[in-house]
């Protein structure tokens, strides 16, 4: 039987966020050892 690999669909979104907020999120993400993207995903989940 042929195996199928199911990929989770992903969406790319471009957001306009104030620089100060991005910098703060980057610091926080760094402190929690995760990427900024993952940090935002977790925040929104």
């Amino acid at each position: 039987m042929r195996e199928q690999v199911l990929q989770k669909p992903i969406k790319r979104l471009t957001l306009r966020i104030p620089a100060a907020l991005v910098a703060q999120a980057q610091r926080q993400a760094g402190a929690t050892r995760c990427s900024l993207n993952r940090y935002i995903v977790e925040l929104l989940s």
Binding site: I17, L21, G30, S45
Partner: protein
């Protein structure tokens, strides 16, 4: 304003788009608000905890912000709802009822699982009920 490209899994993307429809705000504004509210609640980076912010954290922060808005209302306004439960969303009393469950169901029907504070109007100390909803698994 700088742009930031994020890659979201389907459930998070769908939840974000639903939130834009419900609140009539852009995705930019919702993400900004989420970051803003979260940082107001936890201004210091959580060092070496290895934990990322969770849905619960953000929702709790939103509920606290609504509780602050409710407590900031003048006594005369709050007394108008004496004996009832009030629902507070985006800093506004959006509904009220003598029965908490009736109010909860009505608000949920209107706003889905958006974080809304439901509290007795006469509560002497801050007393909060958080709307619970199924969590979405992230990738």
């Amino acid at each position: 304003m700088p742009t930031l490209e994020v890659t979201l899994n389907e459930p998070v993307y769908v939840a974000l788009i639903q939130a834009t429809r419900l609140s009539r705000q852009s995705a930019d504004a919702i993400v900004q608000e989420a970051l803003d509210v979260f940082f107001r609640m936890a201004p210091q980076p959580a060092k070496d905890t290895g934990r990322t912010p969770s849905a619960t954290t953000w929702r709790r922060a939103k509920i606290h912000a609504e509780a602050e808005a409710w407590r900031a209302l003048p006594d005369t306004t709050r007394r108008r709802y004496s004996g009832e439960f009030v629902a507070v969303h985006e800093g506004q009393v959006i509904d009220h009822d003598f029965d908490r469950v009736t109010l909860h169901l009505r608000v949920r029907g209107r706003l889905g699982d958006a974080p809304v504070l439901i509290t007795p109007a006469d509560a002497p100390a801050p007393r909060e009920f958080q709307m619970l909803s199924p969590h979405i698994n992230v990738m």
